[in-house]
């Protein structure tokens, strides 16, 4: 699989996803500096987590206006797959590639912990179709602005169109704190209309080794990559 990872000033999860891509696919991704505009055709572009441009103005706002974004939009129009993780999700929204908004966590706290994700019924998507819905994924989040906000109309549209990828779910019945950020309808990740762009707040690249405390991220990434090249 030919893949690329974008790098902005302030990206800090780029190395982790590069390691994950290399370990899983056997081939290192190309690094895509935000000012560069010439890249070979790729199967997958990952926009990693971090604090691009210091989160100035709004998270992802300045990165979303970088030269590399035009390349990402061309890649998408060719049917290429894009995975935006955490700050990458914020950038996809700021660039107008995914709808809605990611606002400050409800409790005003930077939240770094495991979350349990329920896989939703979606349109056909390489990121979801290799996964079994009954198997929940334990993947950590680490963010300050991950509270997905959208109008009722958009929330209904996303649901009816099968574009909600993941929801935070309770592990035990009386868990009142399972949603880490106050996200509308417990949304943790959404898809583009064609299902080939996924934005998600949880960090799968932080759950790829038993030393991380779990390997559900590895499972998710491996299945996704199989579908992208398949």
């Amino acid at each position: 699989m030919r893949s690329g990872v974008t790098i902005f000033p302030g990206s800090n999860c780029d190395r982790d996803i590069i390691v994950a891509l290399k370990n899983i696919t056997g081939k290192a991704p190309i690094k895509m500096w935000h000012k560069d505009t010439e890249f070979p055709n790729l199967d997958l572009i990952v926009i990693p987590g971090g604090f691009s441009f210091g989160d100035y103005l709004r998270c992802g706002a300045l990165a979303a206006r970088s030269p590399v974004i035009k390349n990402i939009k061309n890649h998408i129009s060719r049917g290429g797959a894009v995975l935006g993780i955490c700050n990458g999700f914020q950038i996809l929204i700021e660039a107008g590639i995914l709808p809605g908004s990611l606002i400050r966590n409800k409790k005003l706290l930077f939240t770094c912990r495991d979350t349990m994700l329920e896989i939703q019924d979606t349109i056909i998507s390489p990121f979801l179709s290799g996964l079994k819905k009954e198997h929940h994924l334990n993947i950590p989040v680490a963010h300050n602005e991950g509270n997905f906000f959208a109008s009722e109309t958009l929330l209904n549209e996303l649901k009816n169109d099968g574009r909600i990828a993941f929801k935070y779910i309770k592990e035990v019945n009386n868990d009142t704190d399972y949603n880490p950020n106050g996200s509308s309808n417990d949304i943790a990740g959404i898809l583009s209309k064609n299902g080939r762009v996924l934005g998600m707040m949880p960090h799968p690249e932080r759950a790829i080794n038993n030393l991380h405390g779990g390997t559900d991220g590895l499972k998710f990434l491996t299945k996704s990559f199989e579908q992208i090249i398949g």
Partner: protein
């Protein structure tokens, strides 16, 4: 010439920072508050533009970058010396 852009969250968008400030203010005894909303101010210092041109330019900047119109609203004012 300076143009001031005031950006705030739209009505109905959760403002947890405003809520936290309100709680803190009521702890200090300020009880006459229904709500506290926060925002940000951006001061644009233009050169070589007439007032109306500067306002138009600022409006375009708001739509292109400064404001997330999904959740935020803005007001543009000219700062006259």
């Amino acid at each position: 010439m300076k143009v001031i852009v005031n950006i705030s969250l739209k009505e109905g968008v959760l403002d947890p920072e405003g809520q936290a400030i309100k709680t803190s203010l009521s702890n200090l005894g300020f009880e006459n508050l229904n709500d506290v909303r926060t925002g940000k101010q951006i001061i644009l210092n233009f050169v070589n533009l007439e007032e109306n041109e500067a306002v138009l330019e600022a409006k375009k900047m708001c739509e292109d970058l400064l404001v997330n119109t999904v959740i935020e609203k803005y007001k543009i004012n000219i700062l006259r010396n």
